[in-house]
């Protein structure tokens, strides 16, 4: 994997997408103004059509401060939305992780947790990053992980128990490195801010709906139309940014571990789980241990190693031209193909595959190639 190229590529695309987002918000401001101006023009045009009056004589008069009100309203909603959403993460990554049921890692508890705690420290040296709090989702046997932070000092990396159970040391290393990239690049914060702006556009739609319910559809409908289109475009742009950040995190993981096979194999195992949901459920015998529920929170959906969003009708409907426009993650196949430079098969999980069994495992002859 040409990880330097992929990183530069992802950074450039993010910048372009953020520019597009800014243009979108400006476009919405202009559209709302034009749509509401049209409301004033329709009676005038009707008058021109039905009476001998000319357009000049049926002069349209806007209420005082019409432009300022429209621009102010939209800006207020978009910024206000972002402000409201911010509250969710302001309490910090640690708080969020606890809310989702995570606990601090306990190296003394098991060999797996000892390895995990060590891996986080190793990679912070490799990445030159500050040490985040390492946490575990104890009842989650799915294969997943996420990172969250609002500021550097409240950063957390959380992995599911399933990841500790089913991944080898190298594979877990790839996963942790991927999450570390999200932390170092400030992806949580970026995504929260974008989500806030999209929420603001949604508020515009709701506001329009309220107006039409109050019997003023002439003002309500244009707001609803613009709000909905803006919301949709905002969602698509936000998802596109998120997909680029995933590629960036994958590229960072390869750079820091200098081992594409670590993250690559972890993603191939996740692919197998995705394709074999029933077999996986049978393996994870205790139903109470089935994972994913806490991870369905929209607050972390974009930060997960592997997407767990339900493929609902909305998402399916926007699957066009081979790209799922509203997906926060590129497909696993695509990510694996990028990491390896070619397509790879899924890797089946094996029952009781525990990383700390398999002592010595022919590692020594491989580890010291004769120079």
């Amino acid at each position: 994997m040409k990880f330097w190229d992929f990183q530069a590529d992802a950074r450039r695309s993010t910048k372009g997408l953020l520019g597009a987002f800014l243009l979108l918000v400006l476009g919405i401001v202009v559209s709302v103004h034009l749509a509401l101006a049209l409301v004033f023009w329709i009676p005038a045009l009707l008058m021109v059509a039905t009476t001998p009056l000319t357009l000049g004589q049926a002069a349209v008069t806007y209420p005082t401060g019409f432009l300022a009100t429209n621009v102010g309203l939209v800006t207020l909603m978009v910024l206000g939305g972002a402000w409201i959403k911010r509250d969710n993460l302001k309490q910090g990554g640690l708080h969020l992780a606890r809310q989702l049921g995570a606990r601090e890692v306990r190296p003394a508890l098991s060999h797996a947790e000892q390895q995990y705690a060590n891996i986080v420290q190793e990679l912070c040296i490799a990445a030159g990053a500050q040490l985040p709090q390492a946490m575990v989702l104890p009842r989650d046997m799915s294969l997943n992980a996420f990172a969250a932070s609002w500021e550097a000092r409240d950063a957390v990396i959380v992995v599911s128990m399933g990841a500790l159970e089913y991944l080898s040391r190298d594979e877990l290393k790839g996963v942790v490195a991927h999450e570390l990239s999200h932390l170092r690049e400030g992806d949580t914060r970026l995504n929260m801010e974008l989500a806030g702006y999209v929420f603001g556009l949604e508020m515009l739609f709701n506001y329009g709906e309220e107006w039409s319910e109050r019997g003023m559809p002439v003002f309500g409908w244009p707001l609803m139309a613009v709000g909905w289109l803006g919301w949709l475009a905002g969602q698509a742009l936000k998802a596109a940014v998120s997909r680029q950040r995933e590629y960036l995190a994958d590229a960072h993981a390869v750079q820091w571990t200098r081992n594409p096979d670590g993250l690559g194999r972890a993603l191939r195992k996740a692919l197998w789980l995705q394709d074999h949901a029933h077999e996986a459920a049978a393996m994870q015998s205790s139903p109470g241990l089935r994972g994913g529920s806490g991870l369905r929170s929209p607050l972390v959906a974009h930060m997960l190693l592997v997407d767990v969003e339900d493929s609902d009708a909305l998402h399916d409907a926007w699957h066009l031209g081979g790209v799922n426009w509203l997906a926060s993650h590129p497909s696993l196949e695509e990510r694996i193909a990028r990491i390896y430079g070619q397509e790879q098969d899924a890797l089946p999980l094996q029952e009781g595959e525990q990383r700390w069994v398999n002592p010595f495992a022919a590692a020594l002859p491989q580890a010291r190639p004769e120079a």
């Binding site: 891996i119 190793e122 040296i125 002592p359």
Partner: protein, 197 residues
């Protein structure tokens, strides 16, 4: 004072400010490389501290392998001495060479210990041994990453100090290019020993 002098003075002032900015930047980068080097030292020390514990646990099971255990302890002592020497006389190529050699011997001795312990199932099953070898394994990784980070810092410093016009300041104020840790270029060294339980 006429206009010419004022222009000359202004140009001079700009040059001085620019020189200060470049100097500070180079200084910061060089300090970071010193810090990165210290990180390697921290990790090496961690390894030296772990080895006696590892040996004392292994001793309980490996009655007939006292030679192997002694070799590890001896190699650890030599490597530790070489590291101390490097700390007191940094930048001397022969001291650094001795250090790399001692580390190589230690790696070999640990590797032999691991091969020997292959045939002692009780040792492999010992929880303390497993925990210690995970720590040792992690330390090997940290040493590798700390070296990688050091080399990345050196690269950044060398790039910054060799670019024109900063190279003028670097030459005038004495910022020689720093050497990379060559040992990490060697695949064998980078793999270090792999301790897996």
């Amino acid at each position: 004072m006429n206009t010419t002098w004022m222009v000359v003075a202004a140009v001079f002032a700009v040059l001085i400010v620019w020189g200060i900015v470049v100097y500070n930047r180079l200084m910061e980068l060089r300090n970071r490389t010193v810090n990165a080097l210290a990180q390697i030292d921290v990790q090496l020390k961690r390894r030296y501290d772990l080895i006696p514990n590892l040996v004392s646990v292994a001793k309980k099971y490996l009655e007939h392998e006292s030679q192997t255990l002694e070799a590890v302890i001896r190699a650890r002592g030599q490597a530790q001495a070489a590291a101390t020497a490097l700390r007191t006389a940094p930048g001397k190529p022969e001291v650094a060479q001795a250090m790399v050699a001692a580390e190589g011997v230690l790696g070999g001795a640990l590797s032999r210990l691991m091969v020997v312990s292959e045939s002692y199932p009780e040792l492999k099953a010992d929880a303390t041994m497993r925990s210690l070898s995970e720590e040792l394994n992690s330390t090997e990784n940290r040493i590798g990453y700390a070296r990688q980070a050091y080399n990345d810092q050196v690269l950044e410093f060398n790039n910054a100090s060799k670019a024109f016009p900063a190279i003028v300041v670097a030459a005038l104020l004495g910022f020689p290019a720093l050497p990379m840790l060559q040992s990490t270029q060697n695949a064998q060294e980078r793999e270090a020993i792999r301790v897996q339980f």
